[in-house]
């Protein structure tokens, strides 16, 4: 188990280090998120129209999943330079550790992006996002993890595909739909200041989704890479 976790962290640390050095995906994804948040705020004017604030959860997650796709496109594409994916497949690294390492690094980058954009979102949508920050953070972590585990698996599937930038969202969005619906519902409830109440069921769904697809991805990745 220790070896598995060490391998997982080795992959995640390598990916984070290379991304923080060249900032290829992170800068594009962050710019995209900020532009989307800014443009939607002008389109809907949430300050004068209180009902629009109820859409804010959906708007936020639209920005996050499109930005997340930009991050996930690089996840396995990063390994295609110098055939580094071959090095990983030929090494004693387990498929599960490779999958989790990639998912951890992508999820951390997505969370950084989310944390960086929340203050701007609060300003433009007149939303007090700090009022239930603990619950909001839980939803962001569970939602981002669910999105990145699916995205990581399909990033491996499309890694050697010339049309991977097009293929990845087409494969990921339908698969993550249950998790995204849960995220939008929960985020809207949290941002409007309502109690969670029946929405706890969405939280359970999100948790179950994460567990199932994390296990599935860890088991399937090796077969995907050797297919």
């Amino acid at each position: 188990m220790t070896r598995f976790l060490r391998q997982t962290w080795t992959i995640a640390a390598k990916d984070l280090r290379t991304e923080l050095r060249n900032k290829e995906a992170l800068s594009a994804a962050l710019s995209f998120t900020l532009v989307v948040i800014l443009l939607f705020s002008f389109a809907f004017d949430p300050v004068s129209n209180v009902e629009v604030r109820e859409l804010s959860g959906g708007l936020l997650w639209i920005a996050y999943i499109f930005a997340g796709i930009l991050l996930l496109n690089r996840s396995f594409a990063r390994e295609s330079a110098n055939d580094c994916l071959d090095a990983l497949v030929a090494s004693p690294l387990s498929g599960g550790a490779l999958f989790l390492g990639k998912a951890v690094s992508s999820c951390l980058l997505l969370l950084v992006l989310e944390m960086a954009s929340l203050p701007l979102f609060g300003v433009f949508y007149s939303v007090n996002w700090t009022q239930n920050f603990g619950t909001l953070l839980l939803v962001l972590v569970l939602g981002s993890w669910g999105f990145t585990v699916i995205g990581t698996l399909f990033s491996a599937v499309t890694a050697n595909n010339r049309l991977r930038e097009l293929m990845l969202p087409l494969l990921v969005f339908p698969m993550t739909l249950p998790a995204l619906i849960a995220c939008v519902q929960l985020t809207t409830v949290i941002l409007t200041g309502d109690p969670l109440g029946d929405s706890v069921a969405w939280l359970k769904l999100l948790f179950g989704f994460d567990v199932i697809f994390t296990l599935l991805g860890a088991v399937l990745l090796e077969s995907v890479l050797l297919a």
């Binding site: 280090r17 050095r21 110098n82 055939d83 071959d86 090494s91 004693p92």
Partner: protein, 232 residues
């Protein structure tokens, strides 16, 4: 239990309809240098990739120490220099070796890494990122990466590519040392002169078929330019 380190048993590999390797059978004994020779597109790289577990044969089987290739327990016993160099451009030379040392669970890796950087002449450039390296420097780092975990089996695909005279000599020394340490080396190359100098056994592939399998001879070493005419 097979006495061979590597056995190919009637392997075929199809890419779509095209058979890149056709019914190849070869036994590679432990502790020798075997040269896999052939023209461009003969199927040498495909065979090496199947031995490394990077490709599965369409038919037949590849055995490593008597068990099917591609199992995780074989991964630590194989070091490979492939066409792509398997290096991360945004990491430094030392960081690249550290990364692979962690993947292979090497103990006291820092000392080994420093030794290898010294050995391949990259100590001065240890903290430079790989994207700043020339092709030859990358190839030297690739060789260090492949040998870092002291694998009993070495698979080298065109290892002399882009190396200058000094680096070619260094590689020959490393391969002869590997032989003296009883490692099994399979080297595929177009560079007949260098390959014939060090190989003890030859396997020649032509359009996916194994057309020659036998010991290296002095007459080949003395006249490498006539090699293909002599064996066909």
């Amino acid at each position: 239990m097979s006495a061979s380190a590597i056995s190919l048993r009637g392997i075929w590999k199809f890419f779509g309809e095209y058979p890149a390797v056709r019914d190849a059978s070869l036994d590679i004994p432990a502790g020798g240098i075997v040269a896999l020779l052939g023209r461009n597109g003969a199927g040498k790289t495909t065979i090496l990739r199947m031995i490394a577990g990077l490709l599965r044969p369409s038919r037949g089987e590849v055995l490593i120490d008597g068990s099917p290739a591609g199992q995780q327990r074989h991964a630590a016993s194989i070091g490979m220099v492939g066409h792509g160099q398997w290096l991360y451009d945004d990491l430094t030379a030392r960081e690249n070796l550290h990364f692979f040392a962690r993947l292979y669970d090497l103990s006291s890796s820092s000392e080994k890494i420093d030794q290898w950087l010294e050995e391949v002449g990259l100590w001065t450039f240890r903290d430079a990122r790989v994207h700043q390296f020339s092709r030859g420097m990358r190839q030297r780092l690739t060789i260090a990466r492949a040998l870092l975990h002291a694998p009993p089996i070495l698979l080298l695909d065109e290892p002399w590519t882009s190396l200058d005279d000094r680096a070619m000599d260094l590689l020959s020394v490393l391969l002869l040392r590997a032989r003296s340490e009883n490692r099994t080396v399979v080297v595929s190359s177009h560079q007949l002169r260098e390959t014939l100098q060090i190989a003890g056994h030859l396997a020649v592939i032509d359009r996916g078929r194994l057309i020659f399998d036998g010991p290296n001879r002095d007459e080949f070493r003395e006249a490498p330019h006539n090699f293909y005419q002599r064996i066909t």
